[in-house]
Structures are given as structure tokens and as C-alpha cells.
Symmetry: C2
Subunit: 197 residues, 2 copies
């Protein structure tokens, strides 16, 4: 009904996370209607990103240069490496502006059920980086899920012989969180880790 | 943090309906990770659509040819024109496969508050098409909103002198709809238009 070109575009767009077939169809209609202001610039920016984006060989971040601008930034503190599962988490931490060290992206979590073992992740390189003399702390900023925590345990064991402090993110009540909507695990963790006001 | 190319792409993608800044960022991460299987084909399909998609000069549909394949299809019933507000509605009706006539897209609804008058819509052409001898019915398939119904009234008056039947979509209980979730207006319309079982 809408021509094979449009149908193929809708199918391809609906593969993006957050877009189903219905919203992909709406998006394509808007793209066609706003060809000059929306569609053509989008094509150009996609092409530009496809041409320029590289994976940082040091930390695993996406950037237009390799090593990435974070790894090259002389103002970052090279003594602390923050280990994250995914580039999305790295970006989230950067938005918080609370961390001034450098990162290491594992590219996933260990998951024996899904057949993801240590060799499938960027872990050997982390061990190698941790041995550098300037590194004093490794922060394991992994998800508070079963896979996240078992990956954190594995990493802590793997880095055991190296002279670095290994730490993890604090658990507790999220800012803005209402107590009666929180699960019992978080509440009991927040209670155990209570601090004088 | 993610390089200017990536940030610009996220901003452009988040202009699509259904994608906010957060989901656009997720989508861009997936695009970069699946460059070969997702990003490059998407660029190609967008470019193809940008090059080929035309607006049908007869009905207003989007297609790779003008007149569109619906207007050219010899199997469509040329005696009935279904008037819709938007190409999205035309596609929705085509998916229902319940209509075998031809279409007319007005490109919007009359809205005095937003300054949209009859000359801003594709209405003169509809009057012209309705005068063709073969046309016997005009179906006004417009939204059941205030603007939709006032546009339907305007069109009915405008086409008054022409020898065609003017009809509108039936109102009633949507299939699968539960009565106690329906608004009173729909319920009373469904009751008034009740039919013997």
C-alpha cells in the first residue's frame, strides 16, 4: 500500500529499541513530511557517525577518535578505573559528572546460562590495565542484578593478586525514592549502611 | 562525552515521534554496535526513500510513483472516495482491507483556533474530484474529535450541490472494548444506533 521503499524503511526502523512497527510507521510518515528539515539531515548525521565512530582500544568507549577523548584527557585521574558493563552506563556516569577517573567497558556481564564466559568479555585487558603502577582503585559499577553481582565477584577474584583497592557502588534509597515503593532488599541494604546525619 | 558526531545524531533522532532523548541515545548505541547489520542498511533505505517517495497529485498518498499505485490500480472502485485527514489514516484503512475504493487526503483538519482554514487543506481538489460522473459516494473518515466533526460538517456543506451520497464512519463500541471503560458519548451513540442481532 505504501510502496516497497517505504515498507522496507519501516521494517528497518522498527528494529531500533523503543520503536515498534506502529511507531516506526509514524516516524517514517514524519520523516517523509519533513524531508528537508528532518530526513536529509538525519541521513547525513547517520553517515557521518558511521564513517567516524570508533571503539576506543583502551577503554571500549565509542568516540570519533581512538583512543577516545576521555582516555586522552590529561585532566582525568588515571589512578581510578571505573568498570561498566556497557557504553550506555559510561555515558550515564559522565552525565552525573561525579567521576573524574577513567573507564573500562567490559561489553557485557558474565552469564553462564547464556553462554557468556570471561573470554567473551573485555576482562583480560582490564587485568592488564590494573597492573599499571599509577592505578590504585578499581570501581566495579555493575548492575545490582544477579549477573551483575556475580560478574563483580569474578572480577574481584581475578584482580585479587594486584595491588589495587576494589570497590563497588553503594546500595540504598534512590534520591526522590519513596520508601513504600522500594523493595525489601534495597530497604534492608539502606538500613544496614545507615549513616549519622 | 560521546563526541560531537554522536551527540548531533542523538539530537536529530530524538526529534522523531516516539523517541525522547533517552531512547534516542539507546537507539544510537545499538546503531553503532550493529553498524553493518542495522546502521548502514538504514542509511541506504532512508536515502532510497528520500530519493523516490513522491506525494500523489491525485489523492495525496505517499508512494514511489505519482499518481500513486492506489490511484492507478484498475481493480479499485472509482465510484467511492474515502476522505482522510492524514496518510497515516489511509494506511490504517488499507491495513483493515475493508475498503476497495480510492482516497483523498486533506492534509489536516480545519482548526480556527490554530488558524487552519479551508484554503490550507486539500479541499478544492476534493470538490473537483467529486464532480466526476463516476463518483457516487464520499465517505468522510475523519477523527471523532471536535475538529474532525466540524471539518466533516464543512465538507458536507461544501459538497452539497454535487450529486453524491455523503456518509461518515459509524460510532459504537470498538471490537474488544469493555463497556465500563468506554466514555458516555460512545455508549450513548452505540445505544442509539443499536441493531437487531
Amino acid at each position: 500500500m505504501a510502496g516497497p521503499d517505504i515498507e522496507a524503511l519501516i521494517r528497518q526502523l522498527s528494529k531500533l529499541p523503543g520503536l515498534g512497527p506502529r511507531s516506526a510507521r509514524r516516524a517514517v510518515l514524519v520523516l517523509i513530511k519533513k524531508k528537508e528539515s528532518l530526513m536529509l539531515p538525519l541521513i547525513q548525521l547517520l553517515q557521518q557517525a558511521a564513517d567516524s565512530v570508533k571503539i576506543c582500544g583502551t577503554c571500549g568507549n565509542f568516540d570519533s577518535q581512538n583512543p577516545c577523548s576521555l582516555c586522552l584527557d590529561p585532566k582525568r585521574d588515571r589512578s581510578t578505573i571505573c568498570v561498566v558493563e556497557d557504553v550506555a552506563d559510561l555515558w550515564a556516569l559522565e552525565r552525573s559528572a561525579a567521576f573524574r577517573g577513567i573507564y573500562h567497558v567490559t561489553g557485557g556481564l558474565l552469564s553462564p546460562l547464556d553462554g557468556v564466559g570471561p573470554d567473551d568479555l573485555n576482562i583480560a585487558e582490564l587485568a592488564h590495565r590494573s597492573e599499571a603502577k599509577e592505578v590504585t582503585e578499581i570501581i566495579l559499577a555493575l548492575s545490582a542484578t544477579v549477573d551483575g553481582q556475580s560478574t563483580a565477584h569474578y572480577l574481584a577474584e581475578r584482580l585479587d593478586g594486584i595491588d589495587v583497592t576494589i570497590s563497588g557502588l553503594a546500595h540504598g534509597v534512590p534520591l526522590g525514592g519513596e520508601l513504600d515503593y522500594l523493595d525489601e532488599g534495597t530497604l534492608s541494604a539502606a538500613l544496614k549502611a545507615r549513616r549519622p546525619v
